[in-house]
């Protein structure tokens, strides 16, 4: 039975893990190929402090750069994301599908089921790690790049352990609460914050020791790709894994299992409260179901609020004052810093507040934030209703299929605008708090371009959702494309022969015109808007012509 549960989960998941690991391997190949083509002097001339910050070893060569800059961050983020999605689905996923009761109808305890799920997180993370290890060894050979002195095995071992750590964290939350989205959301939050803290805190001398509070430090802090396995750091993670496993076992055994899960939204709380019931009932109770787009926009409230909150407070408001704390000498050093290298992190020159905001907020986090919201809504819009078997009922009403697609698109736009407003307000506020004097109109222009970029990938998810009716295809397809196109936009400009190709990436039309410094580039905005419209039109056409799926 234990083996049966484990086997089923393994078979459900191995494809996703393999595809994720292969995508990172492909990116690694691309990155290494570009590094091979460029003059590495731009790196070797860097100041020591910055090299340390960027994971660039003192005697940087092609191999060290590719492993340090690409493999260690993207590889670990991907592997950990896969593990945490397994962890959050482990118990809560079975409850949500209503299959937990069925599973427990067999003579096995909750602890048994949890263990088999945990075994899968370990096993599948190992599968991903093995693929990454093979690629890490094989790619340099294919490209004839000398990688002597790089500890691929140590790097991948660290990756494996950090992935299991986040997988178990998600599993513990999932087991304790029975809430899938809470488990994945909270764990992703911890992971992303931890990733950025480890990059950012060392910049501020007085806070440099703070990195020890973040799990990511125990993964990358010792530079395992150069220094080999750091057993001390891994021990910290092992202890964390053991603690999380213990919490998961206690959590899953102590509470009532949930039946079909109904989330409780902010509106629901206000409606339940006798003080606010009347006014909320009038304002949103029936308003929420007045139109398809209003209902859709009111869903995923948790994710939307979380993303808006992070972008407003942590990525907006706090970055301004933080800029004023950063060591002056570090900032002055960035004159020597190659723009091409920073472009991978979204570009940005740390000697100006605009550059700092671009590096920290707009470069990577803003596209991610918009996409979390737009891709979720785009993917669930059609395929989600089909998977939940409500699409038949919805379309039994006298409305066109195209109306459904367009209303869902409108909901996506509204959600993106909420994030945009939070981000804009946060950055303007941060600039004021730090006395940085950034131009609100240029912040608005950058935010607008970011919103359009997020909508492009949301529309891609919508079109995939319309074409296939499968949420997973829509999510993985659009996130995978975004990932590849982001990297292409960051790396291709390094090589003169490939530089022109970057224009094929939507990301090019987001920041290449430096909107934070130069204001709105209407041409670039028009390209993104046009792409969005084409994808929505494709979604309408694709959805109209196919059979609805009966089950998910």
């Amino acid at each position: 039975m234990l083996a049966t549960v484990a086997t089923k989960t393994f078979l459900d998941r191995w494809k996703g893990v393999t595809i994720g690991a292969l995508a990172v391997a492909l990116m690694f190949f691309l990155g290494m190929a570009v590094y091979r083509d460029i003059d590495l002097a731009i790196y070797t001339d860097l100041p020591e402090a910055l090299k340390a910050l960027m994971n660039i070893p003192v005697d940087a060569d092609v191999g060290a750069l590719a492993y340090g800059v690409i493999y260690s961050s993207y590889g670990a983020l991907t592997l950990a994301s896969l593990a945490l999605s397994m962890g959050s689905a482990s118990i809560a996923g079975e409850e949500r599908k209503g299959t937990m009761g069925l599973l427990l109808g067999n003579p096995k305890s909750r602890t048994h089921i949890l263990i088999s799920k945990a075994a899968n997180i370990v096993l599948l993370s190992a599968l991903g790690a093995v693929i990454l290890w093979i690629a890490g060894v094989a790619v340099p050979g294919m490209l004839s790049v000398d990688v002597t002195g790089i500890e691929v095995g140590a790097l991948v071992s660290h990756m494996f352990v950090i992935a299991v750590f986040y997988g178990f964290m998600a599993m513990a939350i999932s087991a304790w609460t029975g809430k899938n989205s809470l488990a994945s959301g909270a764990t992703v939050g911890v992971m992303v914050i931890s990733f950025f803290a480890v990059g950012l805190l060392p910049l501020i001398e007085s806070l440099a020791n703070g990195v020890r509070a973040f799990p990511w430090h125990y993964y990358s802090g010792s530079n395992p790709q150069i220094n080999g396995i750091d057993w001390g750091d891994l021990t910290v993670l092992f202890v964390g894994i053991a603690l999380l496993a213990f919490v998961a076992v206690v959590g899953v055994n102590r509470r009532d299992l949930r039946g079909q899960v109904t989330g409780v939204s902010v509106v629901d709380r206000l409606r339940a409260n006798p003080m606010t019931r009347k006014i909320v009932e009038r304002l949103v109770g029936s308003a929420r179901v007045s139109r398809i787009w209003v209902k859709t926009a009111s869903e995923n409230q948790g994710i939307l609020i979380f993303v808006a909150y992070v972008m407003f407070l942590m990525m907006g408001l706090l970055i301004g004052p933080m800029y004023t704390f950063i060591d002056e000498t570090l900032i002055s050093l960035t004159d020597a810093f190659p723009k091409e290298l920073l472009a991978m992190f979204g570009g940005g020159d740390m000697s100006t507040p605009e550059g700092f905001y671009q590096l920290e907020t707009f470069g990577l986090m803003t596209p991610i934030a918009f996409m979390v919201v737009t891709v979720t809504t785009g993917a669930r819009a059609l395929a989600g209703e089909e998977a939940n078997r409500t699409m038949g009922l919805l379309l039994a009403n006298p409305i066109r299929r195209s109306t459904v697609v367009l209303e869902k698109t409108l909901a996506m736009i509204v959600q993106a605008l909420i994030v945009a407003i939070a981000l804009f307000a946060g950055v303007v506020g941060g600039s004021m708090l730090g006395g940085l004097g950034m131009s609100p109109s240029r912040i608005a222009a950058t935010t607008l371009l970011g919103t359009l970029l997020g909508l492009v990938f949301g529309a891609l998810a919508l079109a995939l959702s319309a074409a296939t009716g499968r949420t997973r295809v829509a999510i993985y397809g659009s996130i995978g494309s975004a990932f590849g196109l982001y990297v292409a936009n960051g790396f291709l400009p390094f090589s003169e022969s490939f530089a022109g190709l970057a224009k094929w990436s939507p990301f090019y039309y987001y920041l290449s015109s430096d909107p934070l410094l130069n204001g709105m580039n209407w041409g670039h905005g028009a390209v993104l808007l046009g792409l969005f419209i084409v994808l929505v039109a494709a979604a309408v056409a694709l959805f109209d012509r196919r059979d609805l799926r009966q089950t998910g």
Binding site: E299, G392, L393, N397
Partner: protein
């Protein structure tokens, strides 16, 4: 002629890949009728319903509802229908009331007094979230959703699943009232007793083929009876099988069950000559027995 027909199909065929889920279905359901669509699981009932609702498109053939083509005029058609899908699912985070408001808004309004009346008759709680309701109570919300617009044609796929017997009876009364007002009910089911109680005509589908359409009254008039015979010793069934009017003989030790539409006197004579008959019960055969008798071989 199709304009008097609530539902009309011509050679309606649907293949899923190589699998023929529905084959050459020709069917007419006149306005004002309660039509029962019967068949075992996987026979093609749901495929037929999803095809005429334009959820899926036919591989060949065509269908119309109220004289309108189900694909070309699907939006117009949906102004005239109420639908209860099989395996009903709704939005778990919405209350019953929210759910009905949502669909009412999509249709442009509804008579809430009528909704309250329906909820009262079915004993439905509309204040709870749909996700917190038992499947039977969720089904009630689905039924109200279909009835609330007073549609011309009600299309329901296994509508009484999960309902308790009292509510089932009320639901059947509602369907009859509905038809007596001149509206049409198309009802798929695999429980024959329900259809037998309320339908005017029944169609039976097997392996995607419509193998029979009969009036319930006509079927009844075939006057088949089910006869139970109890003896004081084990019986040889072969003795009975040759007799005129005897079908479907089942022998279990001392007990014989058979379907019979011949002369009772002849039957009794034969059995009492050979055995000691202890007891006999007979009753009018239900649809299930009639179908098993007449159509078992046809679609197999």
């Amino acid at each position: 002629m199709t304009d008097q027909m609530a539902i009309h199909t011509e050679g309606l065929t649907k293949h899923y890949g190589d699998f023929p889920a529905l084959v050459g279905l020709d069917l007419d359901v006149p306005v004002g009728e309660i039509f029962g669509f019967l068949g075992p699981n996987g026979a093609g009932k749901t495929t037929m319903i999803r095809t005429i609702l334009d959820e899926i498109r036919p591989t060949s053939g065509r269908a119309s509802i109220m004289g309108l083509d189900t694909h070309e005029s699907s939006v117009e058609i949906r102004k005239h229908i109420g639908y209860v899908p099989g395996d009903l699912a709704m939005y778990p985070n919405l209350t019953g009331k929210d759910t009905l408001t949502y669909f009412a808004n999509l249709r442009g309004g509804v008579d809430w007094d009528y909704v309250d009346a329906l909820a009262g008759r079915l004993d439905a709680d509309l204040s709870k979230k749909v996700g917190d309701l038992s499947s039977g109570n969720r089904q009630k919300v689905g039924l109200i959703q279909a009835f609330m617009n007073k549609p011309d044609v009600l299309i329901m796929d296994e509508p009484s699943s999960g309902l308790d017997p009292l509510v089932q009876r009320e639901f059947q009364t509602m369907m009859r009232e509905f038809a007596s007002d001149g509206q049409t009910v198309f009802l798929s089911s695999h429980t024959l007793s329900e259809v037998q109680r309320i339908a005017d005509r029944v169609g039976i589908i097997r392996h995607g083929h419509l193998i029979a359409v009969e009036g319930v009254a006509d079927l009844r008039s075939k006057a088949i009876r089910t006869v139970n015979l109890f003896f004081d010793e084990p019986v040889d069934g072969a003795v009975l099988e040759g007799l005129a009017g005897v079908r479907e003989v089942n022998v279990e030790d001392h007990h014989v069950t058979l379907s019979f539409d011949g002369q009772m006197e002849t039957l009794l004579k034969v059995v009492t000559e050979r055995y000691n008959l202890l007891d006999i019960t007979t009753h009018e055969a239900n649809l299930e027995e009639i179908f098993l008798t007449y159509y078992d071989e046809v679609g197999a």
